[in-house]
Symmetry: C2
Subunit: 307 residues, 2 copies
């Protein structure tokens, strides 16, 4: 029942010798999702022991090169690996045109389908859903259409208390009914409320990825109660003007978003190449939001289960 985020890239558009452009892998119940795909993503996956064939879906926030140039080489390599399973890509328009171009010139015999699903970047919409997970778009404020992504674990199924099974000598049918949330009616006519029989094994967990963006109270509010928030912090606080003009955030913007969302923890990244040491940025954010941590290549943030 994993819920983990691994940072593949922490840089902004200008690369440095040791920082890679934006990319992350979200692992939820051993299903792997790629979030943004800057240049070098496939090598970073291999470096950190993540089999690229395991990727279920890709979420691209916006069509700036430092968030998407690594996707096309990855698509090619998955073909070389012989992938057969379709790969879903959630990305803003006109991603379909980029994909068509790529397939025409580089992968006209790809052995699997790449299925583009358009992300409408002005809407808070349910993009993806399976038995255990929902992924929602979060409108962001950048120079081009851009959306963040909110990964929300669904309510896990109810567990039935072992002691209550014994106490009431529940039949298999009664246990199944309790798991469905039904109350128990005893032969005496007494009603045992479902809440007395069952419990949630853990609280649903959540992760928000917010990059690239100016501070947005609306985006933060859409993520209210999130356990872990990644928010870009391209600039230090004193570069507020650069941040605003370029559609980016400062450390303080990121911290404010985490406060607004009542987030559990904040991870900052997308550092401008001018900062050799990201700890200065983390310290700044911590003045407002102490639970701030740096995105660094290879770092994994785990959200533990809580009752």
């Amino acid at each position: 029942m994993s819920f983990r985020v691994t940072i593949l890239g922490s840089a902004s558009a200008r690369p440095t010798g040791n920082r890679h452009p934006s990319a992350q892998v979200v692992n939820i119940h051993e299903q792997y999702y790629l979030v943004d795909a800057g240049e070098g993503t496939q090598q970073q996956l291999i470096r950190y022991g993540i089999n690229p064939l395991k990727l279920q879906a890709v979420f691209i926030s916006h069509l700036h090169g430092d968030h998407v140039f690594g996707l096309f080489p990855l698509i090619s390599t998955l073909g070389l690996y012989g992938r057969r399973t379709p790969l879903a890509v959630y990305a803003p328009a006109p991603f379909g045109e980029l994909l068509d171009h790529h397939l025409r010139y580089f992968d006209n015999d790809l052995p699997y389908q790449v299925e583009w699903h358009e992300v409408r970047t002005t809407e808070h919409s349910l993009l993806f859903e399976n038995r255990t997970l929902e992924v929602w778009s979060v409108p962001l404020r950048h120079r081009v259409p851009c959306a963040g992504f909110l990964f929300r674990e669904k309510q896990p199924p109810l567990n039935v208390d072992k002691f209550k099974i014994t106490k009431y000598m529940l039949s298999i049918a009664q246990i199944a009914a309790a798991k469905r949330g039904e109350d128990l009616v005893l032969e005496s006519g007494e009603v045992i409320p479902n809440a007395e029989l069952t419990y949630r094994p853990y609280q649903p967990r959540s992760y928000a990825y917010l990059s690239d963006t100016n501070f947005s109270a609306k985006a933060a509010t859409l993520c209210t109660g999130v356990d872990l928030m990644y928010h870009e912090a391209t600039y230090a606080a004193k570069e507020q003007r650069d941040a605003r003009d370029r559609g980016h955030s400062t450390t303080i913007d990121a911290a404010k978003a985490a406060i607004k969302a009542q987030a559990g923890r904040l991870v900052i990244g997308h550092y401008s190449s001018r900062y050799k040491d990201e700890n200065l940025l983390v310290e700044e954010a911590r003045t407002l939001f102490p639970e701030t941590y740096p995105a660094n290549e290879g770092t994994t943030f785990t959200i533990e289960k809580q009752r």
Copy 2:
């Protein structure tokens, strides 16, 4: 008067955790040329201390992703750096279509020109020339149109022997005439042949880049006398069939090409991901051509001047 080749990538199409796809930088008289540009090229440049802004021209052998996916992110970054000098790209068709697409979707306000020059991959043609260098295409045998590149230093200007200047009390005009290759006519009518007055400061040096290809005696012959030859060796000798079927070479093919060309040294690379240790491949090639060396990320091969 440098003549150096730095390896940025030694891998074939499937990336590994530590090998990068094909890319090299050729430094001739402190002019920098990029040869192929697999994913991650810009970061490799920075890693090995080569300022991307110094690149004069780019030579792309063929339009497979592992040789070209790194060029587009580099083009974007040079724009961020504020490049104004045009960048010449020598590449086979339809590179122009790839470039148009890239500029339209990612760099519609690039502050410099990218000038595509078509490489006709069936011709041995002079592609590029300046005061000190010629670059020639070398037709190769791959699954798609593909050309290697032969970098040939021009004959350096004649130097006039200091002792002869004193002996014959040469005037400035006479020295200039000797540098132009003229004989000296003394007042007595005696003719001193130019060869007695002058010498070449060094022999012109040369480098051949041959990737991707089946063994080609014709390509090797076009590189006759080359000081340093890079030849792909994707496979070990026993995988000759894979090599032939996929338009690639074995270690033995590479060694044969070096022998045929009477090369000074051979560098092999483009290793299949199945080989964890490239030294096995080098040892195989050395059984035929002892002066074989491995391409490894960050390794620089220098061709020293020789009289």
